[in-house]
Amino acid sequence: MDRVLTSRNGPWIAGGLIGLIAVALAHFGNPGNMGFCVACFTRDIAGALGFHRAGVVQYIRPEIPGFILGSFISSLAFREYSPRGGSSPAVRFALGVFAMLGALVFLGCPWRAYLRVAGGDWNAIYGVGGLIVGVFIGIIFLWGGFSLGAAEANPKPAGLVMPLLAAGLLALLFLAPKFGENAPVFFSASGPGSMHAPVLMALGAGLIVGWLAQRSRFCTVGAIRDFLMMGDAYLLKGIIAFTVVAFAANYGLGKFKPGFESQPVAHTDQLWNFLGMVLSGLAFTLAGGCPGRQLIMAGEGDSDAGVFVLGMIAGAAVAHNFSAASSGAGIGAYGMHVTIIGLVFCVCVGLMFREKGE
């Protein structure tokens, strides 16, 4: 199996399996077209911990710690656990914040953008278009010599922090302690946060996807980047299989509902669907991979990816505390502001960080 996953056909197989698992999770209780959404799930975790108080999106999604732990176990088993870090961590934290802000203007990470299209949510076509444009802007910076600098090998225990954090989240999920009146851990009683597949199923799915993605290098942003930049379709095969299989499974289950209106956890403000994902796509490209990939790398011991993930958690709190997150009713009062600030920040980073000699 491992030979297949690491072969040229690996992305086809991993992408297809991940697409199938995503539709299964939505079928068994996750919100519509949200079998996996790294942004939404991270936002739900931030809410469960009380970092924001949007009562309808608070739940410790076991898929996220599952990704980290699945990747951690896989990287140990295949001798790819490699603690490293030190490549502009504060900048990566800020990129994580803005990637999340953009994703919550659109209402989904790149994974969910493809899943939304696969479910017939045509609003997400604008999001995918924005993602491609964002990645392309990142490519222009990469051609110009953009680099956040080299990471260095870290002591072995340094890579344990994110897996331990993941294990801690699972402990909070299973024990569900209350740290006082009107204090976390919060679990939504209504809204998207209350909708979830059975806990063990979701955790198992997260672990399996963590393993599949660690072996195949599944990356929803790298796929576009490598294809546009070098004509390399290796990773692109993964998202094609992911989307096509998710579409087929949705169709087979009668969940394919084409149109713009009344789509689950989505709005129809197309300009900001587009621009939100331009911001996300650019931030992910500057950070070297999509949010799922950042979780996988964090599991492999990459502290820089771990810092990016922590930035995403902070970004989720900012999005909801400062009325920047969208909802089904439309974009938040400050969604436009954070998107523009984020784009300016990312362009400045793209222009200012260059390898010497370029």
Binding site: S147, A153, D232, D304
Partner: protein
């Protein structure tokens, strides 16, 4: 071995190791290029890129990473 070109892409995020390799191989009809990387992902990406360009690829583990050896 003075004609060995060494590319140090260790510690760099995707896709910089491949970009640096591409730059090093540009216009090179033959030769011996060694690319230093720190992760298995970068090792695989650089190997795949060079193989697609017709280079013979071998890899060696070294302390804290890999050396990808490209020959043509």
């Amino acid at each position: 071995m003075s004609d060995v070109i060494t590319v140090n892409a260790s510690g760099l995020s995707c896709p910089q190791p491949v970009l640096m390799t591409k730059k090093a191989l540009a216009g090179l009809e033959s030769g011996h290029v060694e690319v230093l990387v720190d992760t298995a992902t970068s090792r695989n990406n650089v190997s795949r890129f060079a193989e697609n360009k017709g280079w013979k690829v071998s890899t060696e583990e070294r302390g804290g990473g890999y050396t990808v050896i490209l020959e043509k």
